[in-house]
Each structure stands twice: as C-alpha cells, then as structure tokens.
Symmetry: C2
Subunit: 273 residues, 2 copies
C-alpha cells in the first residue's frame, strides 16, 4: 500500500505547549496536580498524563488545593475566579489563539457589536469565550437572521473555514455593518486545505484523532467531501482490513491533538498491507 | 407576445429626488442653471432638462455663476470647494445613499482601516468617494491580496451583490480583521434578485436603460447569466424584430435612471407583436 502522510499532522503549537507545560510543572512541583477538564481532546495523551500523576478533574468543586492546569480550550471566567478564591496554584495552558478569540469577542462587545460566534456551543472553547461575554452572544453553525444592529463575528479556532465564510457572507448580504475577525487558527486552515487536496489523490483516507476532538471531526468532514472513502480512527486498533480491499493508496491525516506515535503506528501498519 | 414587467423598475428614490429638485429649483430660480456632469446617466432625461434650461457642464472651470446642481453620483470634494470659492449657488442632488458610502469610507479611514472600495474607479460615484479619502483607498472589482493591516470594505451603491460578497469573503479568508459596510443600495439588491428570477421564466429579456448607466449594465449582467437571450436597449428605437422570432414571452427590466415613459413605450410596442 502506498502511503501519503499529510505534511501538517500531529500536535499543533498550542497542544505541544500545553503538554510541555504539564511535564515541566510536574517535574518541579510537589503534591497534588490535576487539569480542569481533559488537557486536550485525546484520551491516549490524557492517560499518559494520568500515569505521570496529573489527573483530569471535571468540576472545579472537586479541586481543593495543589496545582491545577487550565486546559488548551480554556475554562470559564467563573471557574478561574473560583480557583483563585480557593487559593489553588494555577498553571495556564490555554492556547493563546483561543485567548485571541476571547479578546476579539470582548472588544467587539465593548464597541457595541452584537457578538456572533460561529462554533459549537457545547465545546469548552466556546463556553470559555461566552463566559467572558457574560453569555451575551449568539452561537451558531447555521446562518440565522439577526435583526438590526452591527454584527461582530468571530469563529471557534477549529471551525470549518468554508462554513465560517459562508455565514459571514450571509450576514453581509442581509445587514449593513459586519465586523469580522477570522479567528480560525492558521494550522486549522492549512490542514483543512491539505485534507481536500490529499484526499482527492488517494483511494482511501484515514483521519487519526480523538473521538471528542473538534478539529479532527472537521478535518474528517473536509476529507469526506473530497473522498467518500474516508474513516475516522483513534488508534491503529480501530483499523479494519476490509477497508483496504482493492485499494492501492492511502492518505493519512491527523488532528492537532493526535500524538505523533499514534500516527506512526497507523502509517507503519498500513504500509505493510 | 406575453409581457412580464419587473416589479422594481424605473426611477429609484435618489433619481426621482434629483429630477424633482431640478424642476423645483428651475421654477423658482432666475438666471443661469446647470448640472456638474449629467444629472443622471440617462440621455433622454438629460435632454429634457436641457429643454428646461438646465444644461450639463463637464468641467467646474466652465461654471462661473448662477446655480449649479450637484448630480446624483456626487462630485469630488475639490470640485465642490472650488464652486463654493467661486460663490456659485449650489443645489445638492447627490443621492443620500452615495453620501453614505462616502461617510462610511471616511469613518473606516479615520479608524485606521485600509479602505477598499468594490466598484469602478472611472465612475463618478467612486471618484467622489475617493476624493473624500484624499485618494487614499484601493478600488477594485477583482480580489487582490493586500498584505497586513485591517481591511475596511465598502461598495459602490450599484455594485453587483454577488461580486461584492465574494470579494468580502476572500478578504476574510486571507486576513485577520475585515470590517464591511454593505453599501450596495437596497433597490439595487432587489432589482438584481428580480432580474434573475424574472429572466428565468421568459423567452427573451429586455433591459431598458442609459448606455453609461452603471446599474443598468449590472442588471443586464445579472439577467444575462440567468437567460442568455438578453438585450440592453436605451429606447424602443433600439428594438430589433428579429429577436422575437419564435418567442412567446418577454421580460422587461429597467435601470434606476430609466424614465417610466421609455419603459412603457417598449412594453406597448412589444405587447403588439
């Protein structure tokens, strides 16, 4: 089997930085250490951190002392305030690009815009941004008409670019003023573009990444549009040999929270077919 | 021949206002009266104004006294200043929607945006807007990448909506911040939409309007995309009976500067075929 691995694959800058911060802090910190929510959306990585004594905690109420790492997607303003009041030591691993979404959205609201976030309202990144706006924003992934006023538009960092652009276009068509911060992160844009081109030139596409990873899901959607013979897997254990019958070439894509080992494992196994 | 006349046809608000202003002013004003440039882009109307003693002057240098009417598309800041210095009496018939483009563009420049105007740089409206920006803006009708900085986008009032939206989309895709004022005027939007739907349901389309009229040209483009059997005419004198051979239905569209009489003349003649 001929294997084409994406050029942009594996950990992005924000994930690498967060994992590095955890490892460094663990080495120099005594006592209890946890993350608030999983550090990144990849269960293999989260398991490995657990082995190193960094457990994920779901609720801020369960954290009473020690060190807490704020995950890449960010936490809500209220959670962070509560942790400070409790006197817990905070290590902030929030991706700077997520903070940029937050800053831009806050600026838009301050300047009198009706803030619209293109993203998933259940995703921790969006929940974090919303909390900094006191929940005074509209979250959507399908255009809906908003009457009157000036629209301020931002995107979840891992949003599909095509979707974001189409929604922006519709707000411009319907409205009079739209101020847009394109906060889809650069690596997401590059990977979505590459997902399309690579998927077109192979017989089968494998997208490697965490089940709850938003950017992996969107990469999968972009790839599937370009090549319907497309599968999302978490590790090589999810591979099904039936998929490869009569196929000659395979493309491998990976989410920004997918560890390089998971990708290498898949690539090695597929090459041997 | 079955005739379908567009619902949105004939003079728009800005043109009606300008013609009305001219007539009213002529009635109450003694002495010399002219317009700086043709009042609107329709030679029939300009001829009729001439008969009433309102001649069009091309250059501000030729105007030395009396009353001057500023045309619907606006004049440059320098021309207006020069007229004031000369002590000429000014009647401002500039369309308020053209002034809105100007105001929005000036605001964007003041707030540090790189101003981009989607429109025709030879059109008097765009020249007028540019002059208020001291020519510090980019005029384009095809996307071109502009490196760095915040982009402030406006449109000529008669620009094709689809073109404007696509250019906006590309600026958003390539950049980080884009602030858009959708200054395509409402009636232009409605007519372009109607041009498409009406053109699809008839055998032949006639677009009635001045040769130099920007909005008539764009209406023609929109209609031609929906129905290739499409002709642009100024008056019924331009009709060619050959066009109607084997045709059963005709759609009639008109620019915002097309007088109702021109449209009625065409409709009556075509109905009798």
């Amino acid at each position: 089997m001929e294997v084409f691995k994406a050029r942009y694959i594996g950990f992005c800058f924000g994930v690498r930085r967060a994992v590095q911060l955890c490892v460094t802090e663990r080495a120099k910190t005594e006592g209890d250490m946890c993350t608030l929510g999983p550090l990144i959306h990849n269960s293999q990585v989260v398991e490995r951190l657990k082995e190193q004594g960094i457990r994920p905690e779901d609720k801020v109420e369960q954290i009473t002392g020690g060190t807490v790492v704020l995950r890449t997607h960010g936490v809500t303003k209220w959670e962070e305030e509560l942790l400070r009041v409790k006197g817990v030591r905070i290590v902030d691993a929030t991706c700077p690009l997520v903070k940029r979404v937050r800053d831009r959205a806050v600026l838009l609201r301050q300047e009198g815009y009706r803030v619209v976030i293109v993203g998933d309202k259940e995703h921790p990144e969006v929940k974090s941004v919303l909390s900094y706006l006191d929940n005074d924003a509209i979250v959507l992934r399908r255009y809906q008409r908003i009457r009157g006023g000036r629209i301020g538009l931002v995107a979840q960092t891992t949003e599909e670019m095509a979707r974001f652009l189409n929604i922006a276009k519709m707000f411009i068509e319907d409205g009079s003023e739209v101020r847009v911060f394109n906060t889809v992160c650069r690596i997401t844009r590059l990977r979505q573009k590459e997902a399309k081109t690579l998927s077109r030139k192979v017989d089968i596409v494998l997208v490697v990444g965490g089940k709850t990873s938003s950017n992996t899901e969107k990469l999968f959607n972009a790839a599937k549009k370009a090549n319907p013979c497309c599968y999302k897997i978490e590790t090589s254990a999810d591979l099904d040999l039936e998929w490869f019958r009569d196929k000659k070439s395979v493309g491998i894509l990976g989410g920004t929270s997918t560890p390089p080992e998971s990708i290498e494992e898949v690539a090695t196994l597929v090459k041997s077919l």
